[in-house]
């Protein structure tokens, strides 16, 4: 796989364990870092990361804004999602990696259930070790791999590093673009993320440069009772191109966890960003216990002739609240959104996109495929907004739902606002079921019931999956299969 891998791991913490060490810090105070959110905690995070003052101030302003929203009870509740109130004071906001000395030494020490999942996902062995956090060698290995590619990237002036490093080494870029697409005032969860974000990825591709490899980050949540708040910022300068992959492929089988990420994409004139996600956070048990609450703000902005394409395969999380969007500011710019979202068992997904047309001749395409199974509830929520200056804007929306079984639900909520009469919009929607005829047809050829279901469902999702880079497409297919296990048959 020609990707540069970077890994963000937080190890599992056991707070009642006297032998527990706070990763890279042995600070006793840190061990006692309380749950809950306060300006002091924001300062602590910033201090641990040795951040410059401007970064701390920005965090504090975000915190203040978030506190105000919370006092006003302005947590968004418009989505078609049901979950118990989140107690924001009952979450650990800072969980540093556990010392590598305490990490499992070999795969023998890793949770067998996790290994089984890796196996089903077809993740190669060295990859598994890395994902399971089988530490020293594997992690160092992957660091050295990253360094090999880092040379290639550096040659071309491409920056790809953790967000923390970017704040240290490229403050001018971070300061210029951070919050330029998703300001901390954007929404409740974006404000929360801006105050306490832990880490994330940063990429910058200079003018005219085509990034020769796919950049990739794997994210994981491990720490019980902790929230995860990562922040990603990607800038394609004029005429630059980058393809970025975000994977959360290791399901963690623990209690409910809050995940509130922010991703900002900036494509300057003629720049292009292709952003692909495979989201497989822990979805909770079959009867709806636990699982990740995934509240994510993802948005890109395109300047003249630029293009941003979001592709997502969402199979995980108990709750998904996520609308990767594009602000088409420059003339002739293009925004795309391709999504497969699966809700099985008691999963709930409320996901879609917003395409905001500002520039002339701007063009957007939305292909959304929602799969509902078990007691899953899947809502497509999509907005297309054509502003007065967006002469000759076009949008094509295709929104399909597939039902597996009869206990699940599929909903479509399109918002359309057109303020320029030259706009052309098309909207197609369909709802279908995996038909008994199709199943019988495939099975009569010798294909097992499970494989037949899988074949029908991935076939149905093909328009989206084919947008993924090849290796990711294979992984997405496997993931759909694993995620649907038990829903069929």
């Amino acid at each position: 796989m020609t990707t540069q891998d970077r890994l963000t791991i937080s190890r599992e913490s056991k707070l009642d364990d006297a032998g527990y060490k706070w990763g890279f810090s042995t600070d006793v105070e840190m061990e006692l870092a309380p749950k809950g959110l306060s300006p002091d905690l924001v300062r602590l995070i910033s201090e641990k990361k040795d951040e410059p003052d401007w970064m701390l101030e920005w965090r504090l302003k975000a915190f203040e804004y978030w506190s105000k929203l919370q006092r006003e009870d302005a947590e968004p509740r418009w989505a078609k999602l049901r979950y118990p109130d989140i107690d924001y004071q009952d979450i650990y906001y800072y969980a540093a990696p556990k010392s590598f000395d305490d990490a499992p030494k070999s795969l023998d020490e890793v949770d067998p259930e996790m290994l089984e999942t890796f196996d089903k996902l077809g993740i190669p062995l060295h990859e598994r070790e890395r994902l399971a956090g089988v530490a020293v060698d594997a992690v160092f290995d992957s660091v050295s791999v990253a360094t090999t590619y880092a040379d290639q990237l550096e040659e071309r002036g491409i920056i790809f590093c953790s967000f923390t490093e970017a704040v240290q080494n490229h403050p001018e870029l971070v300061q210029k673009y951070l919050g330029s697409v998703v300001p901390y005032t954007d929404n409740f969860f974006a404000a929360l993320n801006s105050a306490v974000f832990s880490d994330g990825s940063f990429a910058y591709v200079p003018p005219g440069v085509r990034c020769p490899i796919e950049l990739m980050t794997y994210f994981r949540i491990n720490t019980e009772g902790s929230g995860q708040f990562e922040r990603t910022l990607i800038v394609a300068d004029e005429g630059a191109y980058v393809s970025y992959l975000e994977g959360c492929t290791a399901p963690i089988r623990r209690t409910s966890q809050l995940h509130a990420a922010v991703v900002e994409l900036v494509a300057l004139d003629r720049g292009e960003i292709k952003y692909s996600t495979i989201q497989n956070w822990y979805p909770g048990t079959k009867d709806g216990q636990g699982g990740v609450y995934n509240f994510v703000t993802k948005r890109g902005m395109t300047e003249r002739d630029a293009k941003i394409s979001w592709t997502q395969v969402e199979t995980g999380s108990a709750i998904t609240w996520k609308y990767p969007s594009v602000i088409l500011r420059g003339d002739n710019s293009v925004g795309e959104f391709y999504s497969v979202a699966l809700a099985n068992n008691y999963q709930q997904a409320d996901t879609g996109t917003k395409m905001i047309h500002i520039g002339k001749n701007t063009k957007s395409t939305i292909v959304s495929k929602g799969i509902s199974a078990g007691h899953g509830e899947n809502t497509y929520r999509g907005g297309v907004k054509i502003l007065p200056g967006a002469e000759n804007a076009t949008n094509h929306t295709q929104c399909d739902s597939l039902l597996v079984g009869d206990q699940c639900g599929a909903h479509t909520v399109p918002y359309i606002e057109v303020r320029n009469p030259t706009a052309r919009l098309e909207h197609e929607a369909s709802t279908s079921k995996v038909s008994d005829e199709q199943l019988f047809y495939l099975m009569s050829r010798g294909i097992s019931e499970e494989d037949a279901h899988h074949m029908i469902i991935t076939g149905w999702s093909r328009d989206v999956i084919k947008e993924l880079p090849f290796e990711f497409a294979l992984e997405a297919g496997q993931l759909l299969k694993v995620s649907l296990e038990g829903a069929v048959g």
Binding site: S435, D436, E437, Q438, F440, Y441, L442, M443, S444, R445, G446, I447, S448, E449, D451, A452, M455, I456, T458, G459, W460, S461, R462, D463
Partner: protein
């Protein structure tokens, strides 16, 4: 090889009985033709043989080499060597014919303890058959049966039959809706596959196909029962006289 005894079948979860006591024995190498008026139960019989869940066997038995298959799922029956070319093949969006057929062949080979065919070998076989049956190569780049014309769907069923190489091939009106060339291609395909080990059950309304594929035995199915069995000349008689006499006899019998 295939033996059907006193077979009764109804629509699952309903009282609608469609097959009302069918007896039929198909020996290796034989070609049986089944004719009968619309709605007499020909497709139902074909589907029940293949194990379609929307029908339930309420009495009687179906055996292959002495072993009952009534409790088997359709995929298990395919592993045994049964194949049904359907009257109305389903459309499966996003699934390529090649991918589908390779998965089917692998599943059957796997169940029979055989090695998977390599991609190269399979592609060769696939391309050969596509050409032989006269399938437009553009079609197989599309989704399975999606947007295929009626005749194209039938040719695609023949492609599957020839690649999967079944022991018992059931063809449900494969000849309906075919142009002359396609009919010839289907007949050639069947004749080439005819062997002392393989049997065919061909459901048809017309003599056309039977001129090219000579049946050993012809059955007439009326209202869920086989009312007459004979040699190839029975097909001619049916084509000339229609089913009036059978239907009248059936009414009187009631």
């Amino acid at each position: 090889m295939l033996k059907i005894e006193n077979l009764h079948a109804a629509v699952t979860d309903s009282d609608e009985v469609i097959l009302k006591g069918i007896d039929l024995e198909v020996n290796p190498g034989e070609v049986h033709a089944i004719m009968g008026p619309n709605g007499s139960g020909k497709s139902t019989l074909a589907n029940v043989l293949m194990g379609k869940p929307s029908y339930t066997v309420t009495d009687g038995d179906i055996t292959v080499d002495g072993e009952s298959i009534v409790e088997m799922m359709p995929d298990e029956r395919a592993h045994l060597g049964l194949f049904l070319a359907m009257q109305y093949p389903s459309e499966v969006p996003g699934v390529r014919p090649w991918q589908f057929l390779k998965a089917a062949k692998d599943a059957i080979d796997d169940a029979n303890g055989q090695k998977k065919t390599s991609v190269r070998q399979f592609s060769k076989l696939f391309d050969e058959k596509v050409e032989e049956i006269g399938i437009n190569p553009d079609l197989i780049k599309r989704s399975l049966n999606e947007g295929f014309s009626g005749g194209e769907k039938k040719r695609n069923e023949m492609l599957q039959m020839q690649v999967l190489d079944p022991r018992i091939a059931i063809m449900d009106e494969t000849d309906s809706g075919l142009d002359i060339d396609a009919l010839q291609a289907v007949a050639d395909g069947v004749n080439k596959m005819r062997s002392p080990e393989r049997s065919f059950v061909i459901v048809t309304h017309y003599q056309r196909l039977l001129h090219f594929v000579h049946p050993d035995i012809v059955h007439v199915l009326v209202d869920g029962k086989i009312v007459e069995t004979g040699d190839a000349s029975l097909a001619e008689k049916v084509e000339q006289n229609g089913y009036r006499d059978y239907l009248a006899a059936q009414r009187n019998g009631k």
